[in-house]
Structure formats: C-alpha cells, structure tokens
C-alpha cells in the first residue's frame, strides 16, 4: 500500500514536476519501446548476412521489412482496442510471448517465405500488440502535465534507432545472424518481462492518484473499464471527425518524412557527398529530433496543440524545398538540423490532441487508428522515392510529394476542431448522465 501522491496541498500552487510512480511507468514504457522495436529499427544490418547465406535479393529481403510495417499498421487499431478492453499489461504479456516465438522462428528460416511469415507477419503483429497500448497506458498515469510525460517518451523513441543498429551489427559480427536473433529474443524478453512485472495499468492499481491530481478531482476507477462503456465511448470517438482526420494527418506527416529518411543518403551521394558523410546526416536528424520530440508535447499542451503541430509540419515541409538547391555537405548538414526539428515535432502532439478531444476516456482505439495512418504513411513514403527514381532517374517528384504531404498535413491540422472542450461526454460522469451529455455534445 502506498501513500497517494497528490500534486499539492490545499492552498499551495500546483507543482509542474515532482516524484511520482508515473515516471517509473514512463521509464518502463521507454525501455519497452527501445527493446521491442530494436530488431525492426536495425533490420538493415541483417540484409548482407541473409544475402550471403541464401543468395536472396535485397528487394526480396526488404519486402519482409515492408510487410512487417504494414502488418503492424493494420493490426494497430485492434491492438489499441485490446489495451482498452483488457489493460495494457495483459496486451504487453501477449505481445512479448508472440515476439519471443517470432524471433526464435526468424533465427531458423531457410526459405524466403519463412522470413515473410515469421518476421513480416508474426513479429509485425507482436509489435502492434505490445507497442500500441503503451502510449494510452502512459496517458492513464497523467491527469495534468501530460506533455511532460509524453515528451520523455517521444524523446526515448528517437534514441532507439541510434543504439540498436550498432549493437545488432556487433552481435552479428561476433555470433552470426542466427544466434543474433536468438540472443536478442532471450535478452529482450528477459528485459521486457522485468518491465511487465513492475508495470501497472493505472495509478489505482498501486492505491495512488494520477500525476498532477489535485484535491477534489474525481477518483479513478479501480478495475478495468466496463467493456460496454468502453464500446460506447469508442463509438462516440468514431463519430467525431477528429478521430478520422488525426489518422489522415499522421499519414500525411509520415509520408512527408519517410521520403527524406529513406532517400536522403542516396540524394546526398547523388550530389557528390561521400557515403560516410551522407550516412551521418541521418544521425544528425535523429539527434536533433530527440530534442524536439521532448519539447513539442510540452509546448503543445501549454501553447496550443494545433498551433505547435502546424508549425512542426510547416518546418518539415518547407525545409525540403532547400534540397532542390543543396549540393554540398555543409548545406546538407544545415538541412538535416532544420528538418530534424520539424520531423521530431511531427508526432508529439497526437497524444495531447487525444487528451484534449477525448478527455480521460480510454483512447487506445483512437491511438491505434492513428498508428494505422502513420504506418501506411511510412510504407508509402518509403516506396514512392524508389519508384520515382526508377521512372525519372531523379528525386525531384519524390521531394515534391514530401513537401505537398507535409503542407497538406499542416492545413488539415488547422481545420481540426478547436481543443478548448472535449468532443465526447465526460468519461468519469455516471453512466446515467451519459445520454444527457451526449445530447449536449451533439448540440
């Protein structure tokens, strides 16, 4: 039994930062994200060993990566609902078990269709099941100052790719690709299991209050939400235009930066920059994006979510125009820094928008649907640059698509509903009052 942590005593000003188990939850989720997503982030290091052993084409191998991304995107809405219905902890257990089986089987593949089935489908589903419910679960731990918590989580998400690839590369060099999958499976699952043991779905599971709770706030429910009530609120969400539009906005944003993330190296090399310098552009972008991932949710909460997100999308889109006149390494680095600011800020506002539009209701379904948009956007953006290059022998049209989608995303954000009042009834109100509230919301 713990003593409930309340933000302040009566008469005292609310504190923005203080110790609370919510920060342990944020750390757990950050580690889960880094460990669970590392294998996909580092997939590139497996291409060469697989080609050398089986003689598979690069296109055939990377199709497994694309398949995995699309499967994760397609399963995300269901994974979000799973977290809402049964709690993130159970979803994490199921996802971790699937991850373990998928990793062990991927280490045993001998035919390319085995790779599609194990890495593409099984690990794709596993990633959605244990990753999608995490952000909505973290939101349950914050009644106020959600931006601070989300900022830390988003920042950690950017650190993963920087660490995963060199570590996997080291393991492959030392033990070979089969053992690397198995070592990663056992190592990751051990860490994930330890995280699950410490994880709690909601503050009331520890007899605690959410971060930022003030005296007089309604008490949080102690058990998993009534499935009927969750279903009802999900229906309310689906009836709002924002539910659909946020997904298409995430799609546009991801198309916009996927083109750059996938093709900035070939574009720079095409302009005469050396391969090593070109590769470091991605590191610069990731490094800068960690800072903005951290800052944007905090700014979005305090300065207006739509305004901050619009600026991030505009920076992401307008910066790409620079590439039409960029021919030397210095300018490419300048591009990487400015683009990293916009790219890092692209996704940070969505959890804040969810909170503003849907209040304290379980938002797993909405978040999952946004992840569907993001996943499809990454897939389309990653594909389009190669197709355009094959046809035209240049990247001009692909850059144009990146600019247009980012700017269209900015316009779509401006067209979203104002965030000053929730779009659905109050989740914490007694069920008997729901009809009346729904009526007033509809008006």
């Amino acid at each position: 039994m713990t003593t409930p942590s309340v933000n302040s005593s009566p008469g005292q000003a609310p504190k923005a930062f203080y110790w609370h188990y919510a920060w342990a939850i944020v750390s757990i989720i950050a580690v889960m994200q880094m460990v669970g997503a590392s294998i996909r982030m580092a997939f590139g290091v497996f291409i060469e060993p697989l080609t050398a052993e089986f003689g598979w084409s690069q296109g055939g191998i990377t199709f497994a990566y694309a398949l995995s991304s699309v499967v994760t995107a397609m399963v995300s809405p269901f994974a979000g609902s799973l977290g809402d219905r049964f709690g993130a902890r159970k979803a994490m257990m199921l996802g971790t078990a699937m991850f373990f089986v998928g990793m062990i089987l991927t280490g045993m593949v001998t035919e390319i269709w085995h790779l599609y089935l194990t890495f593409g489908v099984l690990l794709g589903v596993a990633q959605a099941v244990f990753l999608v419910p995490l952000i909505p679960a973290a939101m349950m731990w914050f009644r106020r100052n959600l931006g601070l918590g989300m900022g830390v989580l988003m920042g950690a998400w950017g650190v993963g790719p920087a660490l995963a690839a060199p570590f996997m590369g080291y393991l492959i060099g030392r033990f070979g690709w089969h053992d690397t999958f198995w070592i990663t499976a056992f190592g990751s699952v051990a860490i994930m299991f330890a995280m699950i043991v410490m994880f709690r779905d909601r503050p009331s599971d520890r007899d605690d209050l959410p971060y930022g709770a003030l005296p007089g706030d309604p008490p949080q429910q102690k058990v998993n939400a009534d499935p009927e009530k969750v279903k009802l609120f999900t229906r309310f969400m689906r009836n709002t235009a924002a539910y659909w539009n946020m997904s298409s906005i995430h799609f546009l944003g991801c198309v916009g930066h996927a083109v750059i993330l996938v093709y900035i190296i070939p574009i720079a090399v095409h302009e005469g920059v050396s391969l090593i310098l070109a590769a470091s552009l991605l590191t610069v972008m990731s490094g800068v994006s960690v800072t903005t991932r951290l800052i944007v949710p905090v700014m979005a909460e305090r300065m207006g979510t739509r305004s901050v997100m619009t600026v991030a999308y505009l920076i992401q889109g307008l910066t790409v125009i620079m590439l039409f006149w960029t021919h030397d390494a210095t300018m490419f680095y300048l591009f990487a820094i400015v683009f990293g600011i916009g790219y890092g800020g692209e996704s940070g506002g969505f959890p804040i928008l969810n909170r503003k539009y849907y209040g304290l209701a379980p938002v797993g379904a909405a978040h999952g649907f946004q992840m569907l948009g993001a996943g499809l956007g990454m897939a389309v953006g990653g594909w389009v640059g190669g197709v355009v290059f094959d046809i035209t022998g240049g990247y001009g049209i692909a850059l144009g698509i990146s600019i247009v989608t980012s700017l269209a995303g900015a316009v779509s954000i401006m067209m979203l509903e104002p965030t000053h009042e929730p779009l659905i009834p109050d989740w914490e109100a007694p069920t008997t009052l729901l009809d009346a509230q729904a009526e007033s919301v509809a008006r």
């Binding site: 235009a241 659909w244 539009n245 997904s247 298409s248 799609f251 546009l252 198309v255 389309v380 594909w383 389009v384 197709v387 355009v388 094959d390 046809i391 698509i401 269209a408 779509s412 067209m415 509903e417 779009l423 509809a442 008006r443």
Partner: protein
C-alpha cells in the same frame, strides 16, 4: 431573431450564438460537424482518395516504364503481352510481371 444589417456590427461569437437560435441552422450544426461522404469526414476521404489514386498512378507509371525498357532491351515483352511469361527473358520473374500487370489493370490512365 436576426434583423438584416445588424449581424455585421456584432462580434463573431455573438453572431454564432444568434445564428444558432435559428432552428434550421441548429439542425445543420455547422459549428461542430463537418461535411461527410459515406459517413466519413470529407477531409479524411479526400486525403485517402488522392493518396490511393497517386499510388496507383505512380505504380502503373513505373510498371509501364519497366515493361517498355525491357521491350527495348530484349524486344519482348511489351505492355500488350506483359503477362506472357513464355516470351519473357530468363531474369524476369513471374512476380514482377504480376505486380506490373495489377497496377496497369487498376490504373485507368495507363
């Protein structure tokens, strides 16, 4: 009741409140709802439709271009006999022809 000319001299918020008093406007509920197509917001439908159309067009363009370049290099296959594996060069896989054929079949402009 709104008198003509008065609405121009009042604030937006007041104008919105007054307009909302009119039963037809209240029923239309313009302030919260957006225009919908098949029950989905038009903004979402537009983004998805334009994106799907662009993907189909680019895919078909790429397929057309690949088939044409193979035809130039080997004399076969062309757009017309792209599905005929028997006349394809050895390095051309059946899968490649399948995706090309699918894009060309779906795209009305290629």
């Amino acid at each position: 009741m709104i008198e003509s000319g008065v609405i121009l001299s009042i604030s937006f918020v007041e104008a919105k409140e007054r307009l909302s008093e009119i039963p037809v406007v209240r029923k239309m509920n313009l302030w919260r709802r957006t225009f919908r197509v098949f029950g989905l917001p038009i903004q979402f439908v537009t983004v998805m439709a334009v994106s799907a159309a662009s993907v189909i067009y680019l895919g078909a363009w790429a397929a057309d271009s690949k088939i044409e370049s193979r035809a130039e290099a080997f004399g076969a296959p062309t757009v017309q006999n792209a599905g005929d594996i028997a006349v394809s060069p050895p390095e051309l896989s059946a899968d490649a022809v399948a995706w090309e054929g699918a894009f060309l079949w779906v795209c009305p402009l290629h």
